[in-house]
């Protein structure tokens, strides 16, 4: 039990359960089939967006272009199917490749120039968004094939569980394995902990940085495609509002923006907290325009809690760590 309390995700799990029960106690509608369905749908793509940012946070960088990549892939995916009559699986594949290429561009320039990813991805954000607007001229693609629409609407049997959430759950599991059980994943965390140490050990920084960005691009692309399935159309503004939540979930999950510390399970729970609270605001009929305030406050609280814990654990021990 004591070791459970030390884990990042344990406290969050309690927050999720308690807040869920508390909201349900006041508003039983919170646990209605429809509401649970909506909750899980938002969770599904939020989860992938959060992981797309998390892997970049792991190496101590930021990816401001997650939304722009997702948006570009979303319109490419829907445009290929509508305008060029390309079959769904091929369109998915091309979409994912575009996302990975965008990520590769981010990673390659960051690694080779040594310029901070913040600036590079700020620039590529506008490039990707610009391509998006250039192609669409701000017009959505409406003619999405029925198979895609059906996939977006499907539920697992008679349950409120959307079929859409299966992919994010598989991806979350794979990401957990990647960050905790593969050499590349561990090298990323080592690099995020200390670039200098990682290089002295012989970890190739460009390999780590480029791989992380390619995975981030892949995940952003996946999220973009899922949103198209959900919305049943490909609008050019997909991804515009991803940035803040993409940071919120990992940070609530205890990630340190300086790098080297991320937790996949805690990030997933962070997503749940963001989604539950956003949903609660809807149920309590709070003006949606105010939702961002809550998101901001939540990030602030999470950062302060992280800071306090780091301060307790690290700062004091670092100085007087004699036995």
């Amino acid at each position: 039990m004591a070791t459970l309390f030390k884990k990042d995700w344990f406290g969050l799990l309690i927050v999720v359960i308690v807040s869920g029960l508390a909201i349900a106690a006041v508003k039983p509608a919170f646990l209605s089939h429809f509401n649970l369905y909506v909750l899980m749908v938002s969770t599904s793509y939020m989860l992938i967006i959060a992981l797309a940012q998390m892997i970049i946070i792991a190496i101590g960088q930021m990816n401001l272009s997650v939304g722009a990549i997702g948006g570009l892939v979303a319109i490419s995916f829907s445009g290929l199917m509508e305008v060029h009559q390309i079959s769904v699986p091929v369109a998915v594949l091309i979409g994912l490749v575009i996302g990975m290429m965008c990520g590769f561009l981010n990673g390659y320039i960051t690694a080779k120039s040594g310029i901070s990813a913040f600036i590079i991805t700020l620039a590529t954000l506008y490039i990707f968004k610009g391509i998006n607007l250039g192609i669409t001229e701000a017009e959505p693609f409406y003619n999405i094939p029925e198979t895609v629409k059906n996939f977006g609407n499907a539920k697992l049997g008679n349950t409120p569980i959307p079929f859409l959430i299966v992919i994010p759950i598989i991806i979350t599991f794979l990401m957990w394995v990647f960050m905790n059980r593969t050499e590349t994943g561990r090298h990323m965390l080592a690099y995020g902990n200390s670039v200098q140490s990682a290089e002295l050990i012989g970890i190739s920084s460009s390999k780590v940085v480029i791989t992380a960005h390619v995975i981030s691009g892949f995940l952003a692309a996946t999220a973009g495609i899922l949103v198209v399935c959900r919305l049943q159309l490909g609008t050019p503004n997909i991804g515009d509002s991803w940035l803040l939540p993409s940071f919120a979930a990992p940070v609530i999950g205890g990630a340190i923006l300086a790098g080297g510390k991320v937790d996949v399970i805690a990030t997933a729970l962070g997503v749940l907290i963001v989604v539950i609270i956003s949903q609660a605001l809807v149920i309590f009929k709070i003006d949606p325009f105010f939702v961002q305030i809550f998101l901001g406050v939540m990030i602030l609280i999470a950062v302060l809690v992280n800071r306090y814990r780091e301060y307790k654990q690290e700062a004091l021990r670092k100085i007087f760590n004699s036995e």
């Binding site: 593969t182 965390l189 902990n193 002295l200 080297g260 004699s322 036995e323």
Partner: protein
């Protein structure tokens, strides 16, 4: 096979504005402990970086086991069995000891995933070989500095290092811990056939464990791979500083005359200091002694108000005071702090010498509306820059550029 496992001949290396190494040579005998000495800035770290593949020499040759080789990156060096042990920077603090030891070569299961049980078993072997009683599952940040250091050495050995570079390994160790380290070094030289390059400022240690000595001075060899038996302490110091050692006679020993200008009484700080007492007389130099991590720097930072003093008295010129910021310390109580970490804390590197030397006194020299010119600054700091022989290309007192501060 060559008698030397590592040889560097006439290496040159320049950085913008500095010649770091000038025809430097170095020969490491197999199975020896070789001291690499020199003052700060003599070129030791540049030489180490060349040996470990971090930098590449501009000219000059590098031989490993008698064969000329090129090291393009740290990975190349690792392949040739060269490992460097830094003071503690080389470990990933949030990873376990075992994972750190195996990070270059993580054992994997049939599925290609990391096998943490195997990590524990393998790393335990190396820890036991060094008589280290550490659970491989311990997170590194929970270890003492001394144990981190020993883990670094274990890591180097686990990489099958045949040439081990130790960069001031004892600066954070207690005398007992240092003794243990030396016993271990002698053991691995004897049992594992490892050769060691030992960088240290403590000459007693050098005479205690080293076989050969190379001294660098201003990037040049003051001596190359000299047998330590041919040297004594005085000769070594002369090689290092280029002249005889002068023990400066303290100008005036203050005996009973008490003119205490700064005193700490029973001070407790938020960083964990307890019951600290200290008395400083006028015109007195006080040495603050302790190992790395003992809290010396931290005490001074609390004194100047960067971190908090939570209990006890600080007395300046006989009056009990509270110093709550470095600004107050400097401007109100005239307590200046010069950091050991010049690059991070001492200087603003992208600003010029004039700005850096004067930044603390702008408030004294500024005219109306906070107007400060380079000329005004130069008047103030010129003589100090000259006295301290700061090598700068700025022509002082000629530059009349007007800049708002």
């Amino acid at each position: 096979m060559s008698e030397f496992c590592l040889e560097i001949s006439s290496a040159n290396k320049s950085f913008p504005g500095v010649k770091a190494l000038d025809q430097a040579s170095f020969r490491l005998r197999k199975g020896s402990i070789h001291a690499l000495l020199g003052e700060n800035g003599a070129g030791k770290s540049t030489l180490i970086k060349i040996i470990t593949g971090v930098h590449k020499q501009d000219s000059g040759k590098l031989f490993i086991n008698g064969k000329e080789e090129t090291l393009n990156n740290p990975n190349d060096a690792t392949k040739f069995g060269i490992s460097v042990v830094h003071q503690e920077r080389n470990l990933i603090r949030r990873f376990s000891v075992g994972e750190n030891l195996m990070l270059n070569n993580l054992p994997k299961t049939a599925l290609g995933l990391i096998d943490y049980d195997e990590i524990t078993i393998k790393s335990k072997k190396w820890l036991e070989m060094m008589d280290l009683d550490i659970d491989p599952k311990t997170v590194v940040s929970e270890l003492t500095v001394a144990k981190m250091q020993l883990c670094e050495i274990a890591k180097a050995l686990s990489l099958r290092a045949k040439i081990l570079l130790l960069d001031e390994p004892t600066s954070s160790l207690s005398p007992q811990e240092s003794e243990n380290l030396f016993a271990l070094l002698k053991k691995i030289v004897r049992d594992e056939g490892v050769s060691i390059v030992f960088v240290s400022h403590k000459l007693e240690e050098v005479f205690n464990i080293c076989d050969d000595v190379t001294v660098l001075r201003d990037g040049e060899n003051a001596c190359t791979s000299e047998d330590i038996k041919n040297l004594d302490r005085q000769k070594l110091v002369r090689l290092m500083i280029g002249r005889d050692e002068q023990i400066v006679k303290s100008a005036r020993k203050i005996e009973n005359a008490k003119d205490i200008i700064l005193a700490l009484k029973n001070v407790k700080t938020e960083l964990g200091h307890k019951n600290i007492d200290l008395e400083l007389n006028r015109s007195e130099i006080i040495g603050l002694y302790g190992l790395v991590g003992a809290g010396r720097t931290e005490l001074m930072k609390c004194l100047i108000g960067q971190d908090k003093i939570t209990d006890g008295d600080v007395i300046v010129n006989g009056k009990k005071v509270t110093i709550n910021s470095p600004k107050t310390a400097l401007e109100k109580f005239k307590i200046g702090y010069i950091s050991e970490d010049r690059k991070k804390e001492g200087l603003i590197l992208i600003h010029n010498v004039l700005d850096n030397t004067s930044i603390t006194v702008w408030s004294q020299i500024r005219k109306a509306f906070g107007f400060v010119t380079d000329g005004m600054i130069a008047n103030k700091v010129d003589s100090y820059i000259r006295q301290l022989e700061v090598k700068t290309t700025i022509k002082l007192s000629v530059n009349f550029k007007f800049i708002w501060r």
